[in-house]
């Protein structure tokens, strides 16, 4: 009765094979996403969030390469599929939306053509059918006068509209998994909220599994079921939204929560995590977060494995939940 999760990632390692040597962008990434589940993937810039997305849908650009590990879609292994087989999954089963709506749509092609091509990538449709489906899809993402918008070029639409179009395109074939790579970061706050609510609604309605990538914990706090916290290419904490926000186990997660502005803190200085994320080329031995961690001890110099604490996973040898807080 238990169907396999929509997506299972196990021990994924992704590297950039540069002339200076191998740069390991993702180390030992493992997680599942179930049908209808919304997973928040959080971490600061450069932690490997987008690379995780591109490793899954096979769009890593060289010299990036999945070195080892397994990625299963509905239980079926998809690493090692031929490019043609991967293409058939993209758009049909796995969709992805990017950060900057100004750059996501082709500036010299009409919306109708871009939607039509995306439709025909996985379905045989006449010009009229494609148009009808495009209009329906635009309506669904709340675009007024979709007929007219269809004949527009991207520059004739606002940023929020463009991102709605991108969402509409991504959802055209009702994919099982949607990866949203910071789709609201470039938008202003009200529009951000609208898109967030829209995607949440559509995915819930259809039972789509959703990975929402963001560097801003506050963005996913309201919609995600579960959160993965990434740091320097590793997952450092994995738990349900409630436990993670209420009792963060990893000092880095705690730092992220503390650096979100709240009302109570008004007037007081916002807490920040001191220092910065190390470059991938000089990751410290042992716990990667150690140099910035105020709880660090000698034990942290040893390599850190994922530990399970009840229902959650954490990569820390003395998680905050164990220290009397």
């Amino acid at each position: 009765m238990t169907a396999p999760p929509v997506l299972e990632v196990k021990n994924l390692n992704t590297s950039f094979l540069l002339p200076i040597g191998e740069v390991r962008a993702l180390r030992d990434i493992s997680f599942d996403v179930r049908r209808g589940e919304i997973l928040g993937l959080v971490g600061e810039s450069g932690s490997g969030k987008s690379i995780t997305g591109f490793s899954i849908n096979g769009l890593l650009s060289p010299p990036g390469q999945v070195m080892s590990g397994s990625i299963r879609l509905h239980g079926q292994e998809i690493t090692g599929l031929t490019p043609a087989a991967m293409r058939q999954l993209r758009g049909a089963k796995i969709a992805m939306v990017f950060q900057d709506p100004m750059m996501t749509l082709n500036p010299v092609l009409k919306i109708s053509l871009q939607m039509g091509d995306a439709l025909r990538a996985h379905a045989r449709l006449s010009e009229r059918e494609a148009r009808a489906r495009s209009i329906a899809a635009l309506e669904e993402v709340g675009i007024p006068a979709p007929e007219e918008r269809l004949d527009a070029f991207p520059h004739q639409l606002s940023g929020g509209m463009r991102q709605r179009v991108a969402v509409a395109i991504a959802l055209l074939h009702e994919p099982d998994l949607v990866i949203m790579d910071e789709p609201t970061t470039a938008l202003d706050v009200t529009i951000q909220g609208q898109i967030l609510a829209l995607v949440q609604r559509l995915c819930r309605e259809r039972g789509t599994a959703l990975i929402w990538i963001t560097h801003d914990l506050a963005v996913v706090a309201g919609i995600a079921d579960r959160i993965l916290v990434m740091y320097a290419g590793r997952i450092v904490e994995d738990g349900t939204i409630d436990e993670l926000l209420d009792t963060p186990a990893h000092p880095y997660t705690r730092g992220l929560i503390d650096s979100v502005p709240t009302r109570e803190q008004r007037g007081s200085r916002l807490r920040q995590i001191p220092g910065r994320m190390p470059a991938l080329t000089d990751i410290p031995e042992g716990c990667t977060f150690r140099p910035r961690c105020s709880f660090a001890t000698d034990a942290c110099a040893a390599p850190q494995e994922m530990r399970s604490l009840g229902t959650r996973l954490v990569r820390c040898c003395h998680p905050l939940t164990e220290v009397s807080a």
């Binding site: 769009l59 758009g91 992805m96 749509l105 082709n106 010299v108 995306a118 070029f153």
Partner: protein, 325 residues
Amino acid sequence: MTEFIVKRLLQALLVLAVMTVLVFFGVNVIGNPVYIFASSECDQPCLDAIIKDLGLDRPIWEQYWVFIGNLLQGDLGNSFTHGVPAMSLIWQRLPATLELAFCALVIALTVGLPLGVAAGLRPTHWTSRVIMGFSMIAFSVPIFWIGLIMIIVFSVSLGWMPAVGRGDTVDILGVDLSLFTLDGLHHLAMPAFTLSLIMMAMVIRLTRAGMREVLFSDYIKFARANGIRERRILTLHVMRNILIPIVTVLGMEFGGVIAFAVVVESIFSWPGVGKMLIDAIAVLDRPLIVAYLIFVVIMFVTLNLITDIIYSLLDPRVRLGGNSS
């Protein structure tokens, strides 16, 4: 659009007016045409008679007004050497030049675009280096030298190709063309190829540079994320963007190609306007030189106008006339 074209035409008239001044007074500086008409035993009274007959005894500004007056009636004077209206000579020779330039353009595009795409797709592969090396050579080696080498190799040594002339022509709509006879094509091949080299090198470089830029853009990644076939992405989604700079540069360059077909026409004795200009300069045939220069200016202005219009059709972000919505 109409407003834009009218504006452009007014600008063109201004350019033309300035050019007439430059051309007229410029040509007056280079030698005295009287000696062309005077036989060796012509004495001073005889010379004076010729001068008076040509109107050269009048003040230069008065000569200019006469010239402008005639120009406005479409009369650029009779060629000194041929004794027929200069403009009619140009019209007579123009098809040969246009044919040559047009073939060169077609060769440059049909060879340059695929080579540029290949070089852009695999920039580090050895084929790409060969292609870029070729474009470098085509760009920097003088074309008269390439033309001469080709004549030596293919005409003199191997005897495969004819070295001079247009070969058989057929009359198409009152214009003689070599393009539609086998013998004509045989004659056209070497000069057209020689003339195409610089354009071809530019097409290769622009295409490669465009590919490197466009291939890594978010919108191409998004197209791939939607499962659109690679072939479709290359031939439409990428190509549309690359063509914009190529059309612009070639449009600007094409006038130059026609104007400077002079060199190629001289080498291959191709009976076009360029060859005619060289002959006219050799004998100081003033009306013919002036007519040619005026013609070139008109051609440049027209080509630029056409380029702008095509450009605006290719790039929806450009609105001719300036008043955007």
